[in-house]
Amino acid sequence: MKVVKIDKRNWAGKLEKLKESYRLFGPVKDNEFHIFERLDKGELPDFNYFNTRLSPKSIIYPQSETMLEFSLDKSKENHHILKETDTDCSPRAVIGIRPCDAAAFLLVKRNFDTAEHKDPYWVKAYETTTFVGLACNNPQATCFCTSAGCGPFYEEGLDLLLVDMEDHYFAKIITSKGENLLEAAGWNTGTDADPAGKQIKTMKQEAEAKITSSITTDKLKDKTTTDLFDAPFWEEVAFACINCGTCTYVCPTCWCFDIQDEVNGYSGIRMRNWDSCMFPLFTLHGSGHNPRSTNMQRVRQRFMHKLKYYMDKYDNGIQCVGCGRCIRLCPVNIDIRKVCDLMNSYGD
């Protein structure tokens, strides 16, 4: 394990230097809330946040993204033929992403990067990005990451982990990508790894101890999918839901999208936009038939996907990292922790 000590007095200057070789993204304050954005010249990430309102998934997977382009002008060669658009594939780095949000990309990767198909937009964006995590010293009441497969100091999905030590950061090197970033910024003075490692370990234990909220998922895998699907509790779970879609938009692991064409004059693009299983149009057939026409069916789909179908498909945990956004932002207080417990204990 290699740890680099970063003096906060050098922080701003070195980040500027880093911008010469990376496009930097980080949390910045936008009115009352923090949001992940491109850091322009002179702009610093603001680490005084618990969890951004929207997850940073849009850095890899923008809410709207141009996929292809075309011309409808019949005097042009190749009119009506779609072609790929140029995308900026230069290196990027996200500074100060929470470990849970970085771990979320690993869950989503199973969908976008498969043996059969690689989604070129997602995969290129992911592969060219270096993730510099910011350990959570003070998790929130809605955080349940420790029982959702990650944690406040979780390292998988990160290239570097920053730990805030008041007057300095410890940067724990996790991958060679992370080491390269340190090199580019000129943060290459190692520190005595043993004491630093001990300090980080202590802080990690303290942070984990602050997370008191949890879910139990141990029995989900062995439950019969159709039994859970037909369980009587869904009507009650969905009763208050207004299908606003907030949960799906703020979730770092929700990946569904729609594809639409947009035309301006003779030139057009094919784009994708985040979509949501909360909306009836998501599954509406041309014939008018809709397999998920009711509120209850759509709510069931979201929880069954996160907590059961994902597990059935990949046999690798649930599709949730415990960031707690959907709990905090749901206007009718639907709580995934309660639904998970209902599912996990169903039929016992």
């Binding site: 409808l72 059969e116 041309g286």
Partner: protein
């Protein structure tokens, strides 16, 4: 990195109006880059995303057979934005196609078996692909008896009328064409709904006999008990499903039934497999 969202450019070669209500047209498409035809190597039962620049994409079953070279065929019902745009297009127009997508009918399993095709309405497209494929001299010896039960509302609503007539006159395929009703005095085939005709004409079920069903939900609902009565086990009842789709490759997330994506893991499922999945289709 191969971009699975990029359609192959194709030219519309011919458009045939199939039905008396003019709501169903068959499009013959030709690849603009001849090499793309090789890449688009498909099996009967698969589908493709048809792409109209400026309008979008629509998933449609492939109606031509892999044994027919040089073109692709799609029969399209005018329903929404893209299919309406398609119905307004002319031969010579340029569009795109992505695929082939989805699984196919299980041709390996069907080798050496009796096949009963049961279709209703405009869902006959991939069934036409299958019939042409099975009747190809290379493939016909690999199958035993072939039965086709195909129904439409009226004689004028049947697809591929010339081909139906040609198949009627062959002795290596048993055709059972039916209409819900007609006042045409010259109508020489069956009158009655598909489930009833299935009961009368389909062979008894056994290990060596497979039924392929594709049609509107109401037809499937009433045909299933008939097949059970005839002795077809659920592993031998093969169905093709429909769903709203976008990506067609199991990524965009909307066409799932449980963990299965209809676009990628389907659209063909045996009834035995469907029984294990949530009833949400």
């Amino acid at each position: 990195m191969v971009n699975p969202y990029l359609p192959y450019p194709v030219r519309i070669d011919e458009i045939i109006t199939e039905t008396e209500d003019k709501n169903l047209k068959t499009f013959r498409l030709v690849f603009i880059n001849p090499d793309d035809e090789e890449k688009f190597s498909y099996k009967a039962g698969q589908f493709a995303e048809l792409s109209v620049a400026g309008k979008g994409e629509v998933p449609i079953g492939i109606a031509s057979s892999p044994s027919e070279k040089g073109y692709l065929m799609f029969t399209i019902n005018k329903v929404g934005l893209v299919t309406t745009a398609l119905h307004c297009m002319k031969p010579g127009d340029i569009m795109g196609i992505r695929g082939p997508l989805g699984n196919s009918y299980p041709w390996d399993i069907l080798k050496g078996k009796n096949v009963v095709i049961i279709g209703g309405g405009f869902a006959f497209t991939t069934l036409r692909s299958s019939i042409v494929y099975m009747l190809d001299p290379v493939n016909r010896p690999n199958l035993k008896e072939i039965h086709v039960i195909y129904g439409a509302r009226s004689p004028g609503m049947l697809l591929y009328k010339d081909e139906l007539a040609a198949w009627e006159s062959r002795d290596d395929i048993n055709m059972h064409i039916t209409v819900d009703g007609t006042d045409d005095p010259n109508w020489k085939y069956n009158v009655g709904f598909v489930p009833t005709v299935t009961e009368q004409k389909a062979p008894q079920g056994n290990d060596d006999t497979y039924a392929i069903i594709c049609g509107p939900p109401i037809m499937i609902k009433f045909t299933q008990p008939v097949l059970e009565k005839l002795g077809y086990c659920h592993d031998n009842i093969i169905m093709s499903l429909e769903m709203r789709m976008k990506c067609g490759i199991g990524i965009c997330g909307r066409c799932n039934i449980g963990k299965e994506f209809v676009c990628k893991d389907g659209p063909i499922f045996t009834l035995a497999r469907l029984n294990e999945m949530p009833k949400e289709y």
